[in-house]
């Protein structure tokens, strides 16, 4: 049994069909449960008041905004090295999801920043890198749409993905080596001396898991759509050549 078996579209369709209901159910439970827990059952922060409740959306969305790009980077490299089409289609399927998470991270960050920092936006290294990552998502989606030949589109978008990874990396780690800007370091970290209090951390972890599972659900769903679309194009091409 090899992981490359799932690069076979038939195998991918069979496996994803079995997985989808389970992953969807788990995503719903974690998302609804985590957000309910965070919104209704946690106290206000002594400094930030009730705005702390934005953490349950902002942090998971920002984490998944950058993680989606790293997933796209891996699948793009698999495409470039091994030429597995399902891998390229999975990257294409993930882009709108990553863009949505990035937009949620930017909007909730701005709404949270206004009362806490006194500004909606600052040209802080982390924020700026995250905004550029969002623009890379737009460029990536536009490039897929602009190139007719799917293999060429996959090649070009893979290269774009590699370049954009710099900003995905910076948006996550810029605070560690750029000691400037408004944004604080990681809220949750295995090796940090101080993390957010447990009363916020547990619902936050639940929401992060919910966002991750939602991402997996949507990638599976959208990759299935892309595979069907590719097959449809092949059938239509065959019909046209036969006519």
């Amino acid at each position: 049994m090899s992981i490359w078996e799932y690069a076979n579209p038939k195998k991918f369709m069979q496996t994803s069909e079995v997985l989808l209901p389970w992953v969807t159910g788990l995503a719903l439970v974690c998302l609804v449960g985590g957000l309910f827990w965070g919104f209704f059952l946690t106290p206000d922060d002594y400094k930030q008041g009730s705005t702390v409740k934005i953490i349950y959306l902002h942090v998971p969305a920002a984490i998944m905004g950058t993680s989606a790009w790293f997933m796209m980077l891996i699948t793009s490299l698999i495409w470039l090295i091994r030429r597995h089409h399902v891998s390229a289609l999975a990257a294409k399927a993930a882009a709108p999801i990553g863009l949505t998470f990035t937009v949620i991270g930017l909007i909730t960050g701005a709404i949270w920043g206004q009362p806490m920092w006194g500004t909606w936006w600052a040209w802080d290294p982390r924020l700026t890198a995250f905004l550029i990552l969002g623009l890379f998502y737009l460029g990536y989606i536009a490039l897929w749409a602009a190139v007719d030949d799917p293999d060429t589109a996959a090649d070009l978008t893979s290269v774009l993905c590699i370049v954009g990874s710099v900003f995905a990396f910076l948006s996550r780690y810029a605070v560690l080596f750029w000691n400037q800007g408004l944004h604080q370091g990681a809220s949750l970290s295995m090796d940090a001396k101080e993390n957010v209090s447990d009363v916020y951390a547990w619902p936050l972890w639940t929401c992060i898991l919910g966002f991750l599972l939602l991402f997996v659900t949507l990638v599976l769903l959208r990759t299935r759509t892309e595979i069907r679309s590719r097959r449809l194009q092949a059938l239509l091409a065959r019909e046209r050549s036969a006519a």
Partner: protein, 72 residues
Amino acid sequence: MIPDLGKYAGAVLGSYAVSVALLVALVVVSLWQGARMKRALAEVEARGAPAGQTATRTATRTAGRIGGQGDV
């Protein structure tokens, strides 16, 4: 039931409203696109069926390039 959000109620509720709206829109669009593609493929496959195995085999071969082998 809704906790007292004090002077930040607008910020908190606004964040939740925008985020939930975007997530729901993403899910609905993904489901709609999936259903539309499934229906379109089923129509073309049904239309191509009487033409015999040739179309299916060729399409399978082309689609097989997606992953190297096999039908979708």
